[in-house]
């Protein structure tokens, strides 16, 4: 709000005071929200670090195993085994609310399967296929864990950034400008009052002179 747009009236001053009060209240609440979000973020940070590392490790292992399986069994052999797997891992996706940030909460059914549950024939395939399937089952288990943690982290970080921006805007832009405008009106009103007093004194002096 530029100072030239401010009308130096008492009603404007009252309105500005109300706005300042509201902005300060909003600022305090947002500051508390930001601190709360950072605390929540610290809770998931350690988990996220570990999960990214172990996810990468398991992915590398799985890629390595499928390359070996392709070499041993041939691409068609691996594909045939893959197509015969029947049991699908089921997950339940719920949504959790952390200070207004919606984050996922994932639960899953058993991902790892026994040899006989996989669906492909044991005689027609080699142990490499079993090991590859195990490696991928472990990877899927880790993905389910990491998906929840990483999305929570990303959303929390976005919200922290937004809240921080709002807090800073209120602290360094909105509240100082409103305060400046209110000070300007106060000074202008005082000035007008002094002018009025001076004018009255002048009139009084003139009328006294005329009477004499």
């Amino acid at each position: 709000m530029a100072l030239k747009d401010v009308k130096p009236t008492r009603s404007e001053l009252i309105g500005l005071k109300r706005k300042i009060k509201l902005s300060e209240r909003g600022y305090n609440i947002l500051k508390m929200k930001r601190d709360g979000l950072i605390l929540e973020f610290f809770k998931v940070l350690e988990e996220a670090k570990n999960s990214r590392g172990s996810l990468q490790e398991r992915y590398n292992r799985a890629v390595e195993m499928i390359a070996i399986a392709n070499t041993f069994e041939g691409a068609i052999g691996v594909k045939a085994a893959a197509m015969s797997v029947k049991e699908t891992p089921e997950i339940t996706l719920k949504q959790k609310n952390i200070m207004g940030v919606v984050v996922p909460e994932i639960e899953s059914s058993r991902v790892r399967k026994g040899l006989r549950e996989r669906g492909y024939g044991l005689l027609g395939t080699s142990a490499v296929i079993d090991e590859t399937a195990t490696a991928f089952e472990e990877l899927v288990e880790e993905i389910i864990k990491a998906a929840e943690i990483e999305t929570t982290m990303k959303r929390l970080l976005n919200e922290i950034e937004h809240t921080k921006r709002r807090v800073n805007a209120l602290e360094f832009k909105v509240i100082p400008e409103l305060t400046e405008a209110s000070t300007f009106i106060k000074m202008r009103l005082d000035e007008m009052e002094r002018e009025e007093l001076f004018r009255l004194k002048k009139i009084k002096a003139k009328s006294q002179k005329a009477e004499a």
Binding site: Y59, I66, T88, P104, V140, I143, E161
Partner: protein
């Protein structure tokens, strides 16, 4: 709910071995975007798995949608997770490099 995997045929093959049925092979970029859009619209998919390098090829707008999405929750694996790394995000949001 199920898990879906989108990527080239080599990437999705292993996931089929782990029992994931909703695998979508996409060797061209247009096909890839098409599959992702379909998955984003379906209610029965809880997690969408992509390859980090594929994620990087997506348009920034779609990437942001995927990163923000909760249902389905999207995860990129292998290499960088695509877009801003977690380290960069933390630095930008908190102001300190806590990813050490």
């Amino acid at each position: 709910m199920e898990i879906a995997v989108v990527g080239n045929s080599d990437f999705i093959l292993g996931f089929r071995l782990a029992g994931i049925k909703r695998t979508y092979a996409a060797n061209r970029d247009e096909k890839f975007v098409e599959h992702i859009t379909t998955i984003l619209g379906s209610d029965d998919i809880g997690i969408l798995v992509l390859k980090g390098s594929d994620m990087e090829r997506l348009s920034p707008r779609l990437r942001t949608t995927l990163e923000e999405s909760v249902r389905p929750t999207v995860i990129a694996i292998g290499g960088e997770e695509g877009g801003l790394s977690m380290r960069e995000r933390i630095k930008r949001s908190v102001g300190v490099d806590l990813w050490k």
